[in-house]
């Protein structure tokens, strides 16, 4: 009976991580042909240097135009995030398995998964086809795109809270709506705020991209400068986007940390 024993030992060695590593290695080998490129003998390094050289120095004369377009991008992101939060909250309540009946939760999660399947650029193409090439298309596209993510995040937040708190308020005589408002919602609220801020940051980056297909904002300018090979101006836009994203990242990170501190996950032990 030694052969079955050896087989079993091999099976035991094949844990999930080993299997994943083997599958990844096989996938990498299978993917190697894509590294061939066009097959022509190109001087890639010289190409890169020549291309990047056109970016420098950035043409700062377009700064006023870029600032105005960035403002529009910001507005698109703000409104899209706001609408997405408003749509996601009820959807997330339906999708939270601890709050809603199981069939409803499954249906809501399926709907959100479908929304998430489409990238923001595809949502933008659809929105431009429906409402035309304008900032409204950006708002519509990013709203739908964000609902897929925020709905899932909020549902997870509702599922992560301690339901006994709300049950305790019920036992003390509170109405179910009061138990939700004061027992469940305050626990989920910091997470909801934190995730909404993250979505706003994300939408700012996305709003720069959706403009490529005409959905307003800085992306429209980016596309125009690329079309006319004005790479020095293109570089100015990129630098402005970079500055905005870094600033938002810094502010957002601090705000999120402050919000999540209110849940007390890190401080509870320190207070003892």
């Amino acid at each position: 009976m030694s052969a079955p024993k050896r087989g079993r030992a091999l099976y035991e060695r094949l844990d999930l991580e080993t299997v994943l590593a083997l599958l990844l290695a096989a996938a990498a080998v299978w993917s190697l042909p894509v590294l061939r490129g066009s097959g022509r003998d190109l001087d890639h390094w010289a190409n890169l240097k020549r291309f990047l050289g056109r970016f420098l120095p950035p043409d700062l004369s377009v700064l006023p135009d870029v600032a105005a377009a960035l403002g529009e991008t910001f507005r698109i992101a703000v409104l899209a995030t706001l609408f997405a939060v408003a749509l996601s909250l009820p959807l997330a309540l339906c999708a939270a398995r601890t709050v809603s009946p199981r069939p409803l939760a499954l249906l809501a999660r399926l709907a959100m998964n479908m929304v998430r399947t489409l990238p923001s650029l595809v949502w933008a193409l659809v929105a431009v086809a429906v409402v035309g090439a304008n900032p409204l298309a950006g708002v519509v596209a990013l709203t739908f795109y964000s609902v897929g993510y925020l709905g899932k995040f909020f549902a997870d937040a509702f599922e992560s809270v301690d339901l006994k708190v709300a049950a305790g308020l019920r036992a003390l005589g509170a109405h179910p709506i009061q138990a939700f408002q004061y027992g469940l919602w305050p626990q989920a609220r910091p997470l909801v705020w934190s995730q909404s801020l993250w979505m706003l940051e994300y939408n700012l980056r996305s709003a720069a991209i959706v403009g490529y297909v005409g959905a307003g904002g800085i992306g429209v300018q980016l596309h125009a400068y690329q079309e006319y090979y004005q790479w020095d101006r293109f570089a100015t836009v990129l630098l402005c986007i970079l500055a905005l994203v870094i600033a938002l990242d810094l502010v957002g990170e601090r705000l999120r940390a402050r919000l999540l501190r209110r849940t007390g996950s890190a401080e509870t032990l320190a207070a003892d």
Partner: protein, 236 residues
């Protein structure tokens, strides 16, 4: 909310008739007959897992009796199921159940939510009980941390706030499940002193799960021991 006329102290308030509670297939205890008088302080003691918390949950109407019955008496002496007293029982949960993201003061004030229709509390929690909440927190030594978020308070502070919440309701009876288990001896005596003083001043019936014999002897009028090692599973 039902009007509470002044009930006679010493009149029956809680009546258990052949009460039995089961956890899964195992009986915790059976045939418990007990009458608790209005204003009485009943301590419930016994080893862990004996069924003390289950008894408190049953008295609060949160756990159905496996056999027998239990009822609360209203001012006129009529029997009422525990559900009828919802909003008039000051519950202190073993697992506290405070809202971690709200200050202790807000948590204590939330005890009185059920006194208001839900549409009146949509814009904000009622503050009419704030003076009493502050007084209770002060009596329990929490005046300085009243505005601190619950999650940032120590376990002992949270436990005292949970006791304050149970009392802030101005209930007919207090059901407290190990309300001082996280407190040091002096803190525990102080907290139980507040509970006893409130009970005496307002004629509250108290059913309180306690582990320390000195606490039982100092604060309780009677003790119910629930212990599977006892022939009946309990003793008075």
């Amino acid at each position: 909310m039902a009007a509470i006329t002044a009930p006679a102290p010493g009149a029956p308030h809680l009546s258990l008739r052949g009460l039995g509670l089961r956890r899964g297939e195992r009986w915790l205890f059976r045939g418990l007959d007990l009458e608790v008088r209005r204003g009485e302080f009943l301590a419930v003691t016994g080893p862990s897992g004996a069924g003390k918390s289950s008894l408190v949950a049953a008295l609060a109407g949160l756990l159905p009796a496996s056999e027998g019955g239990l009822s609360w008496c209203d001012a006129a002496g009529a029997a009422q199921p525990p559900a009828a007293l919802r909003g008039r029982l000051g519950l202190v949960f073993q697992d506290l159940r405070l809202v971690p993201t709200l200050p202790l003061l807000d948590n204590v004030c939330l005890a009185r939510l059920g006194r208001h229709p839900w549409w009146r509390t949509l814009a904000g929690a009622p503050r009419e009980g704030e003076a009493r909440a502050r007084a209770l927190l002060g009596a329990l030594g929490l005046a300085e941390v009243a505005e601190r978020t619950a999650a940032l308070c120590s376990g002992g502070e949270q436990q005292r706030a949970a006791l304050a919440r149970g009392l802030c309701l101005e209930p007919e009876a207090v059901l407290a499940d190990e309300p001082v288990s996280a407190l040091d001896p002096d803190g525990a005596r102080r907290a139980l002193g507040v509970l006893r003083d409130e009970a005496r001043a307002r004629g509250l019936t108290v059913v309180c799960v306690l582990h320390d014999r000195p606490h039982v002897e100092e604060f309780a009028d009677r003790a119910l021991v629930i212990d599977p090692a006892l022939p009946a599973g309990f003793a008075l």
